[in-house]
Amino acid sequence: MLTTAISIIDAYINFDERFTLNNINWTVEPSQHWVITGTNGSGKSALAAVLGGVGDLESGSIQGIPTNVGLVSFEAQAELIAKELKKDDADIMDVISVGTPVREMIFDDCADPELAQTLIEKFGLTTLLDRAFRKLSTGETRKVMLVRALSSKPDLLVLDEPFDGLDADTLIMLQAHLASIVDTVPMVMVLNRFDEMPDFITHVAYMDKVQLDKKDNKSNTAVGNLALTIDRQDKTAFEDLYQLLHLKTTDLKIPAAGSSNQLPGLDASQPLVRLKGVTIKYEDTVIVDKLNWTIEQGQHWQLSGPNGSGKTCVLSLITGDHPQCYVNDIFVFGFQRGNGESIWQIKQFIGYVSTALQWEYRVSTSCRNVIISGFYDSIGMYSKSTDNQKKTANEWLELLGMRDRADQPFNKLSYGDQRLLLIARAMVKHPPLLILDEPCLGLDDMNRQLVLALIEKICAASETTVLYVNHHAEDKITGIDNYLALKKNN
């Protein structure tokens, strides 16, 4: 039984140079039961394996890992099988080795033979006891590993995807058994499927992949990061995590704009946006000084710069929201500004999200209508929506895991949920240009993860050109490779 907490502080842990866990801070108390979850390749199994003593600690500290850890994972399983095969190769006698029989695998060094016997029967392994371990199927091997770990009187149980590949009856049996031992041993499980999480789990750790800077020469190394830990008592955070995993792990398709929402065609030979020597000034203060900038179709950009460098001003010249767009040389979506075009002719080509927009979007309209309003570039809905638009909006709500909130008033949602809906609003018509002005500003970690996940899906899945504004380097978006940095003018 674990008596002191396991404590991992500022740890960088290497796994065969292929994988690194980055800056891990994590405490497991003896009374807690954890699930580790996250996207594929984010290091869930690696973090679990650390508790089984795997990996090279490069810096930081790991304390309190007990000596007797019951570890079940694909990696441990593969290792054990590899060991068995080696035995065979090493056999110098002129007989064909059958390898270690299952009985031996289980009962040698078994701390609780009585329990082992019971579990063998429950797992239906009785008839396999005399078979060679390495001749078993993957599922059978997995069951043997579980019996070994459970009957070893472990101080800590680490179970990486223990329910994978089990038939329904066995799954129920195993869950019931685990539930019966919660008071005797702390457990850490890796689970991909949220709905398999047993009721006794008290905490959730969420892992995320880290995007490496190119200058860091380890481009072959994937890096995992412990992004969040959540107490299950925190219902809101728990629900948000469910939503996040839904987004990250489902094979998403961005809903089509629908046939009734066709935009006028754009000349492919023309840039989307061309600013020539644009200047914004108030009285004697120059905010933007003679800026030239061209955005070609399909060219994703990141715009950065310190506060007051005019990022938002430049964007509002493009969207037509800045009054000085009429005194500058601005070409957007086929219009040279100031020649009798209306602002709505410009806005129809743009999807836009910013903190200011969220501020302005103080309406009592429904969540579904907020998404549909993206077809009209309006804040609130002032026209009757079509059935097609409703269908598209429903698909978006589905994608966001918010289908059941379609008719709820938008202004009653959390800040992060509102932001997600506004991103859907910006994308709903598949605009040629999607402008995301600090989309993560003011969001907590959980909602930031949600928003980034959504934007990545959008970048990957649609024909939209993305213009992303941010000064947080960690919020980089895969697929953006053009950068414009604005400097403060005074």
Partner: protein
């Protein structure tokens, strides 16, 4: 001195003009801004209405520039800054007026006569002059050159809201009119419609009215229910609560934010909904109080309407203009010295429902004021649509200004004309309600009804509910709010 235009008309024509008001359907605007496309629009004045309307028109693809007095340009006054920082061309009257196809006069009412006299000789032959309030034409009898088209486009909201609603993709309800004596080419209506589209007004509802109906109803609404009743009610309710021993900070907060809260219910569902927010006994109480108030105040409402129709109001006010605003400025100073104005809102929490429960008298005053203004206007020949917009519709807008900075903000936001009328009303109404206020106790203002007497007589409740729902302002309100609700689902 000026010559009142309305009084020069025969009765038949007066009645016809007063009765002019029709709610236009959005389908009546298929040409959009076409009638103004390519025309040069020059705006005089760059205050809240001038700037925000200009921004909307330009964003609708129209050619807008601003003309200011040479001194305003030379001294780089706020109006000059407003226009230049927003990227507009700015020039003097001499530079820009001769080039204009349409001139929008968006200066304050008081300046209309000198401004119009100055620009008229400079205007191109056959151009259009647009007003946002008909006072100059109707009350001052300004004569406009025969070749010029004269129209009115009046958004029924403050300038900042005209812009904010446009940016959201909507607009604000807008009144349009053509001055029939000045429509030589018959293009006035087309120009006014295009202008309303350019500011987004067509999405929120356009009322086609006349210069006369606009002036006579606008003056009536602003000086009675909109500003006058709220000012008088604020002073009376505050003094009564303090007299009855209620904490002054609480009283101040209850009134400052109470008007806004109760009229919010009015905006959504008319007088009926405002009273439905009360408990049954409180509703009957509010109803009875308002009936009493209506009897006491009806002669005052009639007098205001009579003076507006006869031109007596504008005549006396213009005399004050000519006398350096002595009355206006004196009354303004007096208002600043009232106890309500001088007592800051206390740091106490008042829930939304508490504003109703403890403000039964305020609800009764709003109901009495709205119904009286509506009844008086319609009795004077103004049609229900107009009377609704100039009474019930605008009450929440004015109540918002009191919530911002009490009576000072209200009187600063409204025009000098409205402010002058508001003080006239207030001075007459305070003594009129003195006896009525003697019987008022904290059960209807400050503390709410005691919960012991929660019973009501069924027959009486049915009677009260029927009376509320059958008032003519509720009938037209239901129709007009229905038009709005189809389009506007926004707070």
């Amino acid at each position: 001195m000026s010559n009142n235009y309305f009084n020069t008309l025969p009765l038949r024509e007066q009645l016809a003009q007063l009765a002019k008001c029709r709610f236009m359907d959005i389908s009546e605007f298929p040409e959009g801004v076409d009638a103004l496309k390519g025309k040069k629009i020059v705006v005089i004045g760059c205050g809240a209405q001038g700037l925000n309307q200009g921004l909307n028109l330009r964003d609708s693809g129209l050619d807008v520039s601003y003309t200011l007095r040479a001194a305003a340009i030379a001294e780089k006054r706020q109006s000059w800054k407003n226009a230049t920082e927003n990227g507009f061309v700015v020039g003097t009257y001499e530079e820009l007026i001769p080039t204009a196809d349409v001139v929008l006069n968006l200066t304050p009412d008081k300046q209309h006569t000198p401004v119009v006299k100055e620009i008229m000789p400079l205007m191109k032959k056959g151009a259009c002059l647009s007003y946002s309030h008909g006072f100059n034409i109707v009350e001052e009898g300004m004569q406009i050159r025969e070749d010029l088209t004269v129209i009115m486009v009046a958004p029924k909201c403050p300038g900042s809201e005209v812009r904010a609603e446009y940016v959201r993709g909507f607009g604000v309800p807008t009144l349009i009119a053509v001055h029939e004596d000045n429509d030589p080419k018959g293009e006035g209506l087309a120009l006014a419609k295009a202008y309303a589209v350019g500011t987004g007004g067509h999405k929120a509802g356009v009322l086609m009215s006349s210069f006369i109906a606009e002036v006579k109803s606008d003056l009536m609404g602003e000086q009675t229910i909109l500003c006058g009743m709220l000012q008088t009610g604020s002073i009376l309710c505050f003094d009564k609560m303090v007299e009855e021993g209620i904490d002054a900070g609480y009283a101040s907060r209850l009134i400052q934010y109470g008007w806004e809260t109760v009229t919010e219910a009015l905006k959504y569902g008319g007088v009926t909904n405002m009273l439905d927010r009360l408990s049954n006994p409180a509703k009957i109480k509010a109803f009875d109080l308002s009936e009493e108030l209506k009897v006491i105040m009806r002669p005052l409402y009639n007098k205001h309407q009579d003076d507006i129709i006869s031109g007596h109001f504008s005549k006396t006010m213009m005399e004050d203009w000519a006398n350096d605003d002595v009355n206006l400025l004196g009354w303004r100073a007096e208002t600043a010295e009232t106890n309500f104005e001088k007592t800051p809102a206390g740091d106490v929490e008042i829930s939304e429902q508490e504003f109703f429960d403890n403000g039964i008298l305020m609800v009764a005053m709003v109901k009495a004021g709205v119904e009286l203004a509506f009844e008086t206007m319609t009795a004077a020949g103004i049609v229900a649509d107009s009377a609704y917009y100039e009474s019930l519709h605008e009450t929440p807008l004015i109540a918002n200004t009191i919530a911002r900075k009490k009576l000072y903000e209200m009187n600063a936001t409204i025009s000098d004309t409205a402010e002058y009328g508001c003080y006239l009303y207030n001075h007459a109404c305070l003594p009129l309600l003195a006896d009525f206020m003697k019987d008022i106790k904290t059960d209807v203002i400050g503390k709410g009804l005691s919960t012991e007497d929660n019973g009501v007589d069924n027959a009486r409740l049915i009677e009260v509910n029927a009376a509320l729902r059958n008032h003519p302002v509720e009938a037209i309100g239901g129709v007009l709010r229905g038009h709005m609700a189809d389009m506007k689902k926004i707070v």
